[in-house]
């Protein structure tokens, strides 16, 4: 047939018939590629940001010197590199003062990522540094100034070498959250090490090589490096640098992928709705061309080629829209981002194009394919029913498409499953509702005198169509609720983990006799602190009388290790029992409670016995419980807890954590002078860094939520639009017969609001189920039912659908009935 698809499309476009379908497709491609590009770039940015915690893009660490050849190879591969060396050593000042410090020697290039800061007075303001100390100079931790009784420009000695104190060491990007056994920091130049003579073969030291460059170069180099690594040489990842950040990033990524997957489903639904309406409106068109000789094959070819052409145009437009969406996002977001993200690559647009093809084939084509079967008799009898009923195979095709798209998009079958479970609930309950409405018999006749009876009659008369609509509405509302719930619980959890007054300083090595004095000093200063926890250094030796391996170089989970032990009569704050029982107060038996990951690493269960060496005394204790705890809480946390009476005889120190504002930090100078043996660890910079990242991730999540809300809103509009023709037709006739405006709008409002009420209810049930699966299986969070979502979901459903429905049908009371009927 020579009438080309192009001409038909052009004519349809002029006639306004294509608008909705094109819009839905462009939006589908736009939202999917836009969100995908945005999340890809955001992930890039966040990964870069997280590299700050390594001070590089890749790091190798070892207890022995690392080969210089690696640095040369890094240079060949186009990477920058730096070296650091950390070790404990005594620092001397004058004749009387000395202190065991944690020394870190850095090369000029350090840090490659993130910011090194210094200060000009202990615990004072931080100033960004361009490089570490020059040769012959050192930066000292704030508390060393009191402990060594030195000031800036004084001299300190490390090993055989004197150094000039030029600054206060404040923060390093890779200082991390681990501090046990570390003394206060001294930063020095890497090349000064030989002169000190303190690093000898066998010393407890940590050598690091740091590398940074473009993502591709780092990948090439890492691939080269991996096989070179020997025992004791370890490539570090962000996870090891900063677990709370990697956790936040992983969950944020899950959220963004979830959002994108929901966008795919919403887009599919919108396209299906638009195509269905397009197809319904084209029935007359097809009837005419069939009456003058077009065969079903010719009609199918015409619509298939039109659809293909439409797909190409819409995909191109959609990719453009997607590019614009991500660009606008980043424009809005630029100020909050610490680093400029690189390009997102072509993948997001490929995903957009694939979404478009899938939507066209699985959602748009089935209703259009039926146009080929439209009866030409419609030219004589317009009241003939449409070839509408979608076969089960169409729904299965659509479902399969949704599953595959979501799975491909998220790469996570658990996430796909969670959303599917919710969708299954809406469809199942929705169909149940349809059967109830249809089987209920004719409850009421259409009574034009009564607004309620009119609405109810309408609801029942279009039972199946209404049920389908309820399913669509509830799918859209469910997805929005799921996103809202997950977002809220994510952000809530982050905020509870790190509230504004989260502890940001730790205090260790408190002698038992110092506890009362420190307690009163802190309360006099108004410092809010956690409880004092006793701390005993012990070594885990055996499990069920089986001796563990003792080497430290081997990557062995079940090995002997030094560990901090504590005691407590009650279950520590924020800990939860996952197995076994807590002991009764005053118990003096040899019992122990283990943290769950620790127990898992060592393969220990409740009832096992574990052997320890505390000082030189062995201790065998039976495991009575396993605990889960929150490592990100910045409170003292312990792998192993014993009954107080059991450990009372062993020498112990105490620790606590507390919150201190920057302005109050000068207090620490006085404190350290009074309690010189107590170690104070500043974590405020780390806490701030973590909070900063979490704020950015939260902002991104909120932005994505807004976009998905818009997409969901469009599906709702498309869903309402799909049913408007039939309702307008009836209303126009009632209007022509003299029905008042209030009656028509009122009954429409009741009808739509009732649909919305049902949809909101189904959506809430389904959302709870999806969220439970998502939080438990995907996000590794604890699930608790959300009470407020029930009234919210149901009322919002009624309100939104009710007002959208009335808004869409308003024309029926503002334009003459003849105009309305003619246009339908």
């Amino acid at each position: 047939m020579s009438m080309t698809a192009t001409r038909m499309l052009a004519r349809d476009w002029r006639g306004g018939e294509l608008g909705v379908l094109v819009m839905a497709l462009v939006l589908a491609v736009g939202v999917v590629s836009g969100i995908s590009a945005f999340t890809t770039k955001l992930q890039n940015a966040l990964v870069q940001e997280s590299h700050r915690f390594l001070a590089a893009d890749a790091v190798v660490s070892s207890g022995r010197p690392l080969p210089d050849q690696w640095l040369r190879q890094a240079k060949i591969d186009g990477l920058q590199s730096a070296k650091t060396l950390s070790f404990p050593s005594m620092v001397y000042a004058g004749d009387d003062n000395m202190y065991l410090a944690s020394i870190k020697a850095v090369s000029e290039e350090y840090p490659l990522r993130g910011q090194l800061t210094y200060g000009i007075e202990p615990f004072g303001e931080t100033v960004p540094a361009t490089a570490g100390p020059a040769r012959g100079e050192v930066w000292l931790d704030s508390r060393l100034f009191s402990l060594l009784d030195v000031a800036l420009q004084d001299q300190v000695v490390i090993g055989d070498q004197p150094f000039l104190v030029v600054a206060v060491a404040r923060t390093e990007p890779d200082q991390g959250a681990s501090f046990y056994g570390f003394g206060p920091r001294v930063l020095m130049h890497y090349d000064d090490i030989p002169a000190t003579g303190v690093v000898q073969p066998g010393s407890r030291v940590e050598y690091r090589q740091l590398y940074a460059g473009s993502e591709a170069d780092v990948k090439t180099f890492s691939r080269w490096l991996q096989p070179q690594l020997q025992d004791g040489q370890k490539a570090l990842s962000v996870e090891e640098g900063q677990p709370s950040i990697s956790n936040a990033l992983a969950r944020a990524e899950s959220f963004l992928l979830l959002a994108g997957s929901l966008a795919v489903v919403l887009a599919g639904v919108a396209v299906a709705l638009a195509a269905r309406r397009f197809s319904e409106r084209h029935h007359d068109y097809v009837a005419i061309i069939k009456s003058i000789g077009a065969t079903s094959g010719a009609v199918n070819r015409l619509y298939a080629s039109s659809l293909l052409l439409l797909g190409l145009i819409a995909t191109a437009m959609g990719c453009g829209l997607g590019f614009a969406i991500q660009a606008v996002f980043f424009e809005l977001f630029a100020e909050q981002l610490p680093v400029q993200p690189g390009s997102s690559g072509m993948r997001p647009y490929a995903i957009g194009a694939a979404t478009s093809i899938t939507c066209l084939f699985c959602f748009a084509w089935p209703p259009l394919r039926r146009l080929g079967q439209a009866s030409p008799l419609r030219v004589l009898r317009r009241d003939l029913p449409l070839e509408g009923g979608r076969a089960i195979s169409d729904y299965l095709l659509g479902l399969l498409a949704v599953v595959l798209l979501m799975w491909w998009y998220s790469g996570d079958w658990k996430l796909t499953l969670a959303v599917l479970a919710g969708l299954a609930v809406t469809v199942g309950l929705g169909l149940g509702l349809a059967l109830t409405l249809l089987r209920g018999g004719r409850l009421v006749g259409m009574s034009a005198g009564n607004i309620w009876r009119l609405a109810l009659a309408g609801l029942q008369r279009r039972g199946l169509a209404n049920a389908l609509q309820v399913v669509i509405f509830s799918m859209a509302i469910m997805m929005l609720l799921v996103l809202l719930l997950v977002r809220t619980s994510l952000i809530d959890e982050w905020q509870t983990q790190l509230p504004a007054d989260a502890p940001n300083h730790f205090m260790l090595n408190i002698g038992p006799e110092e506890v009362p004095a420190i307690e009163s000093v802190l309360s006099e200063e108004g410092v809010v602190r956690e409880a004092f926890y006793p701390m005993i250094r012990g070594r885990i030796m055996s499990v069920n009388s089986e001796e563990l391996v003792s080497t430290e170089d081997v990557e062995e989970q079940r090995r002997q290790r030094e560990i901090n032990l504590t005691w407590s009569d009650g279950l520590p704050k924020d800990n939860t029992l996952v197995a076994g029982q807590w002991w009764s107060a005053g118990n003096d038996q040899a019992l122990v409670s283990l943290e769950e990951d620790f127990a898992e690493r060592l393969g220990i269960k409740v009832g096992d016995s574990v052997g320890f060496l505390i000082g030189s005394q062995p201790l065998e204790a039976q495991v009575t419980s396993i605990r889960a705890l929150d490592w990100q809480s910045m409170r003292p946390n312990f792998y192993l807890v014993f009954p107080p009476k059991l450990l009372a005889a062993y020498p112990s120190t105490f620790m606590t954590s507390f919150h201190l504002e920057v302005a109050d930090k000068a207090f620490l100078n006085r404190f350290i002078r009074r309690f010189p043996t107590v170690t104070v660890i500043e974590m405020d910079a780390v806490v701030e860094q973590v909070r900063g990242i979490i704020e950015q991730v939260s902002a991104a999540i909120n932005l994505v939520l807004v976009v998905i809300l818009a997409a969901g809103g469009l599906v709702l509009v498309a869903g309402v639009q799909a049913s408007v023709d039939a309702r307008m037709h009836e209303s126009a006739i009632l209007r022509a017969l003299g029905a008042p405006r209030r009656l028509i709008l009122g009954s429409l409002l009741i009808e739509f609001a009732t649909l919305g009420l049902f949809a909101g209810f189904l959506a809430t049930v389904a959302a709870e189920l999806s969220v439970a699966i998502l939080q438990i299986l995907v996000m590794d969070m604890r699930y608790t039912p959300t009470v407020w979502i029930w009234p919210l979901g149901i009322l919002l459903g009624a309100l939104i659908i009710g007002s959208l429905g009335v808004a869409s049908c308003r024309k029926v009371v503002s334009v003459s009935p003849v105009t309305v009927l003619r246009e339908l």
């Binding site: 047939m1 005419i288 009456s291 003058i292 079903s296 008799l377 004589l380």
Partner: protein, 220 residues
Amino acid sequence: MIKCNNLQKRVPIAGHELEILKGITLEIKSGESVAIIGASGSGKSTLLGLLAGLDEASGGSVTINGTDLGTLDEDGRARFRGEHIGFVFQSFQLLPALTALENVMLPLELQGQSNVTEQAEHYLKRVELDARLGHYPLQLSGGEQQRVALARAFASRPAILFADEPTGNLDSRTGDRIIDLVFELNREEGTTLVLVTHDSALADRCDRRLRLDGGALVKE
């Protein structure tokens, strides 16, 4: 030319079958003009739909120029319509997205003919619409739209023209002009005309009248 033998149409309604046509037998000769008249609901449009191959009979047969429409599937009937049949409808049934010229070109394009533009222009000129080739249906009056529909119907040179209440949506003066045109073109092209109408004056202009009552042919 058109032979119709014991033609029946039944439709299921609320659990039982409603008989719309109760065994119609008739014959229409080539070149003849026949009016089918009858009250609303007598089955006129149903008969027209069956004679024109737009619908399938529940019993009996329709044979046009020796082809039994009952032996053709929907695509076969579509091809048959394209080659042998033209239509004029009460509600014009022009495609709103196409111009007058494009509407007339459509059946010719469907038949894969050449020179479709020239042929279409010729027939639009014949119905005196050569000045309105580029207009869309909504930009034309009812009479003009029906003239475009006439041009479209005759452009494919059908052997039979079926007209369903062709003046039903027009005022009487415009309706008269359309009917004049229908008969003129009918004569010029030697077409068989089958016309469904309420209008007895219009029916009188045909060679023969067939009256339907309650789904059966009755003698006048």
